[in-house]
């Protein structure tokens, strides 16, 4: 499992590899589909987890997502990249799940990788500034961030997850969501304003 320190690179450069794997999987090679699962599980896990804030629901949803992708693979014509295609499936299924789940749901968070202790941002917010001493432990920070994200609507949370956490570009997000780039930018702007108000004390 890769440690997510740097922005996650988009697999645009590996679209050729994906095309070969998809063709083999469509021909019946199950190991090719296994390779696709291994490749995209970490990315899709991050997407679904940050939208649902529940690791059990995330694991179940991922099973459904890949099962659906496997069944629909024969109809995949390659007009978009496999990456965009499976991301679209993931977003749609997660949004449908969230609508059915409703507002009140149990939060179940993942463990935080110890690499965070070396992150400059984490060090900055946990060390004292010139005037005050602040101690923010990892669990508290995790809860604060999670609560702030869950206060956003599903659409706003989706764009924040894809842009800020997963590092996708505006045009990629627009293709995946099936909206214009302008819509993506306006949703992001509004979401950031809200998050700023929720996390004001940590940002300043």
């Amino acid at each position: 499992m890769e440690t997510a320190i740097a922005p996650e690179s988009t697999p645009s450069t590996s679209s050729g590899e994906d095309r070969i794997l998809v063709e083999r999987a469509q021909a019946g090679d199950t190991r090719a589909f296994d390779d696709l699962v291994r490749k995209y599980t970490p990315k899709l896990y991050g997407l679904v987890y940050n939208m649902t804030s529940n690791r059990d629901d995330t694991a179940d949803l991922l099973q459904e997502i890949f099962a659906k992708a496997y069944r629909a693979l024969k109809r995949f014509q390659g007009k978009s990249s496999f990456y965009t295609w499976i991301y679209s499936i993931s977003v749609n299924m997660t949004l449908n799940f969230l609508k059915k789940r409703g507002r009140y749901s149990k939060v179940s968070m993942d463990d935080v990788d110890s690499g965070i202790l070396n992150d400059p941002t984490f060090i900055e917010i946990t060390t004292a500034n010139r005037d005050t001493v602040r101690e923010v432990n990892i669990n508290e920070l995790q809860k604060r961030l999670n609560d702030a994200l869950m206060k956003l609507s599903e659409d706003h949370r989706t764009v924040v997850t894809m842009y800020d956490i997963q590092g996708l570009q505006h045009n990629e997000i627009a293709k995946i969501l099936g909206v214009s780039e302008g819509t993506v930018r306006s949703r992001l702007f509004y979401a950031h304003r809200l998050l700023q108000s929720y996390l004001e004390d940590l940002v300043k």
Binding site: M1, T3, A4, I5, P7, E8, D34, V37, R38, T41, P42, Y45, G46, Y49, N50, R55, T58, A59, L62, Q63, F66, A67, Y70, M109, D110, D111, V112, D113, G115, I116, D119, T121, F122, I125, L141, Q142, L145, N146, L149, V160, D164, I165, H192, L195, Q196, L199, L202, V203, K204
Partner: protein, 175 residues
Amino acid sequence: MSEFDKLQRLIQLKRYETPGEDFVEDFLTRFHQRQRAELLRQSARSLLWERVTTYWENLVSPKWTAAAVTACVAVVAAWGTMQFTNSGNLGNGFANEMLASAEPILPSQPALAVESELIREVEQGRQLEIEGILLSRHFESEEVQSFGDNDSIVGVTSAAMPISAELLPLNSFNR
């Protein structure tokens, strides 16, 4: 660094939340188990369907099934047509009036002269239902028995007796 940049870096800390190193392989194993279970379910369903269709094919030939269905449809259509025709006849008011005002069909004749038709009154005052029945030669071959000295008594052989007690003499037809 602007507040927006700080906010973004803060949110990016969520990347450190991970399910663990073994998650991907465990996930793949569970995915394979799920796929196998789904294949078994699908094959059981398709096997059941195949058995059911084979059973029906052996039981009833498609040709005979089609013939039976066509025959049923024809019978139902015929019955429906007959029902429609009968209801049309009963509901014909003009015909009823004609029947009620019609003069006696048969001229008044002596009872014994009626050789071919019997008149039966079904409901008094409503309508007469005339049934044409060919009589046998009962009224023609009447035999009179004499009972000794009492000439007032005239016996009639059973052969001359009317077939049914419901039959009325012809003179009552003119009421």
